[in-house]
Amino acid sequence: MLDSFARFLKVLNSETEPGQISLALAFAMIAGFTPLLSLHNLLIILMVLVLRVNLSAFIVGLTVFTGLAYLLDPLFHQAGYSVLNNESLKELWTSMYNTSIWRLERFNNTIVMGSLLLSLLAFIPFVLTVNYLIVRYRTSLLRWVEKLRIVKLIKGSKFYGVYKSLSGLTGA
């Protein structure tokens, strides 16, 4: 995990395309918020592997969002419950319920529906926001951060050793 986090920091501080990082984190958000063994997560894995998104960012993001999901479960349940019991959508849900692939997806579960819906809604705003934050971080915050006493202390720590070794390996 320490390696992944170090890799993530390295990527963050490198010249890697911000979109690759933000997209990886957005995919991680879907996979982390929703139950891992869901059918749609197979598609997420496929996209993470095929699209050139940052894998370290995805792994770190998956860990963080899975932890967050435990806290947000009641919210997901409420959202899923409301949507699934919405009368105007009942016909759509009934039609999907009678289709095997959707039943396998377990769309009728309140947690699956709530978490998937909220993470999909947050997907694009999340990508744009993270993109913006990465750019801002690299242009102004990075230099200021490196001057901080706490950062200097970290640079003397084991973690920084790992980080440096990775940098050395990759030549970054």
């Binding site: 395309e17 894995i45 496929l46 993470v48 592997l49 095929v50 699209l51 050139r52 435990y70 479960d73 009641p74 997901f76 349940h77 899923g80 419950y81 699934l84 019991n85 009942k90 849900w93 009934t94 319920y97 009678n98 095997s100 692939i101 039943r103 396998l104 377990r106 009728n108 579960n109 309140t110 947690i111 699956v112 709530g114």
Partner: protein
């Protein structure tokens, strides 16, 4: 475009999928095996084991080998051991997360097999409720020991004594009341005073006819006033007599009840404490009750074990609350084009290898949700080559298709079941066994919701009863033994009604009548003796009191006589007054006649005129 796509990633993805699918195929058997073992063990609280699970892909199915389910009450024994369970599943339904098994075969089912090692688990998650064991084959001879009569009478309140107390109070009240009433009535003195007054009224003779007539008229007036007073007094006495008679009548009725009360007390206590000869001799319940109760409990226990299978899953979901959703959520259901329950075994063929022989059967529509399926669970088992019996047939339906209503029916038939050395009673007072017999058994059980009705008929033939005495039997036991020696055939009927938890069981048999005839004489004598004692003691306790009260009640007659005497005195005085009045009227008439005879015509006219004027005076 190339900047955003990395095709090797697709290869990696495919490789991962293939790896997962291959791994699933390879390890599916082990996974299912562990799943069944863990969930079974958790559910039963005793170890559930499988030797092997094989998966077949086309068609999709499993084969479970040597399933062993430990008996939670006896860890060194398997409750059930099945050599092979094989079934195929609908892949399409599995995609909908429904486990639908079209056909299942369950081969070589054996019960109560020995285990090589203990199947106990440290933590019992859920302990199945074991059936109540038979309380031993104990047996008591018909109860002909009676409670002590003295104890009964010291414990029981006699109605006779209560009535006597009431009667005594009434009698005392009546006595006080009548003593007061009689004292207020005219007595001998008063009547004597009347007599004196009557006798003292005598008109004074002056020689003047007119004055004498006037004196007689005055005397008559006074006498008539006394007569009126006497009449009033007599009326008071008569009224008092009538009232007294009414009170006496009421008391008499009370005393009549009191006189009958000892007989009523006797009847009540006899009913309560004296065992009737028929009630004491329900020999069939005493002999077969425990065995029947044991098997009823076994059946109830199996029903309890099967209940979770019949329990409606939809009902469970309806009762779920949002608090239960943490990390799991709720599966919201929608209308299905072709509804299917989450779990269904359409048909299971079962073969049982029991000690008594092989039994084959079929169970249809095993599901957790009959409401969705719309079909009841049905089963039928048959055997015709049993060791100690002819044919066995077990047919049943568990219908839980309608919400809020269930109807379960089981019909059982066992022909020519051979009984050998079947111990009916281990009691020292009457150790009885059925050395041999052959029985045809039929039973029907119906459970509507919680309302249970069941009846069973066992026709026993070629019966031979034996007794193995450890001590010298009593005369009653000997009589029963002799009676049973002659019994070759008999029937046992069992009727059960009530609820699953609380039912009444009625066991009857023609053995009851046989035993009753054999020992009825002895029991009757004892009962007669007890009843005579009871009757005598009740009489002893009540007779004296009743006699005392009767005696006191007899004194009411004296009051009546007293009143009669006073009425007589009144009548005498009335007669005296009337006689005197008559005499005075006569004397007055004579005086007037004499005067009239001596009057001139002129005077006669004056008299006529006066008569008219004072006509009232001459009446």
């Amino acid at each position: 475009m190339k900047k955003w796509i990395r095709w090797p990633g697709f290869i990696v993805f495919i490789a991962v999928i293939v790896l997962v699918a291959g791994g699933s195929y390879l390890f599916a058997g082990s996974i299912v095996k562990k799943l069944i073992e863990h969930s079974g063990t958790d559910l039963l609280g005793a170890r559930v084991e499988l030797d092997r699970v094989n998966l077949s892909v086309m068609p999709l199915g499993f084969e479970l080998q040597n399933l062993q389910v430990t008996n939670p009450d006896n860890p060194m024994q398997n409750a059930v051991q099945v050599k092979r369970i094989k079934f195929f599943m609908s892949a399409m339904e599995l995609l909908r997360l429904n486990v639908v098994i079209d056909e299942m075969s369950v081969d070589n089912v054996r019960l109560n097999t020995r285990r090589k090692e203990s199947g106990a688990v440290l933590k019992k998650a859920k302990k199945a409720v074991a059936p109540e064991k038979s309380q031993g084959l104990d047996f008591s001879l018909p109860k002909i020991e009676f409670p002590d009569v003295k104890d009964i009478l010291s414990r029981e309140k006699l109605r006779t004594l209560d009535l006597a107390q009431e009667a005594e109070t009434e009698l005392d009240n009546a006595r006080d009341k009548w003593e007061k009433n009689i004292n207020a009535l005219p007595d001998k003195g008063k009547f004597q005073a009347y007599e004196d007054r009557i006798k003292s009224i005598k008109p004074v003779k002056t020689g003047d006819t007119v004055k004498d007539i006037q004196a007689i008229s005055d005397a008559l007036g006074e006498l008539k006033k006394i007569k009126k007073d006497i009449k009033q007094d007599i009326a008071r006495i008569k009224k008092a007599k009538s009232d007294l008679s009414q009170d006496a009548k009421t008391l008499r009725t009370q005393f009549d009840h009191l006189a009958k009360a000892p007989a009523d007390d006797y009847a009540h206590l006899k009913e309560k404490y004296s065992p009737s000869s028929s009630g004491a001799l329900n020999i069939s319940r005493a002999l077969f009750g425990n065995t029947i109760t044991y098997w009823v409990n076994v059946a109830a226990d199996w029903y309890r074990r099967l209940s979770p299978v019949l329990k409606n899953a939809i009902d469970d979901e309806k009762t779920q609350t949002p608090q239960q959703v943490r990390h799991k959520g709720i599966d919201v259901r929608f209308a299905e084009d072709a509804p299917s329950p989450n779990f269904l075994i359409k048909s299971a063929h079962v073969s049982l290898e029991l000690e008594v022989g092989d039994i084959r059967g079929e169970i249809n529509n095993i599901t957790s949700n009959q409401e969705v399926l719309g079909l009841p669970l049905t089963f039928s088992f048959f055997a015709d080559k049993l060791k100690n019996a002819g044919e066995l047939e077990l047919v049943g339906t568990f219908n839980h298709t309608e919400p809020g209503h269930s109807e379960d029916k089981i019909s059982f038939r066992l022909a020519r079941y051979k009984v050998e050395n079947f111990v009916l009673s281990e009691s020292d007072t009457f150790p009885l066994s059925l050395k041999q017999a052959q029985s045809d058994l039929q039973a029907e059980v119906q459970l509507n919701e919680n309302e249970l009705t069941a009846n069973m008929l066992s026709a026993v033939q070629s019966a031979e009863f034996v007794t193995t005495w450890n001590k010298k039997p009593g005369s009653l036991a000997r009589s029963m033994e002799n009676a049973l020696k002659d019994v070759n055939a008999f029937e046992i009927k069992v009727d059960i009604s009530g609820s699953k938890e609380n039912y009444d069981m009625d066991v009857s048999s023609d053995l009851d009548e046989i035993i009753k005839n054999a020992i009825g004489q002895q029991v009757r004598q004892s009962i007669d003796k007890f009843e005579k004692q009871l009757e005598d003691r009740i009489k002893e306790k009540t007779t004296a009191k009743i006699a005392e009260l009767e005696s006191r009640f007899g004194k009411a007659d004296q009051l009546q006589k007293k009143l009669d005497k006073r009425e007589k005195l009144g009548d005498e005085q009335l007669e005296l007054a009337e006689n005197n009045i008559d005499a005075l009227i006569k004397a007055k008439k004579n005086k007037l006649k004499k005067k009239m005879d001596n009057l001139s015509d002129k005077d006669q006219k004056k008299i006529d005129k006066l008569k008219k004027k004072y006509k009232n005076l001459f009446k």
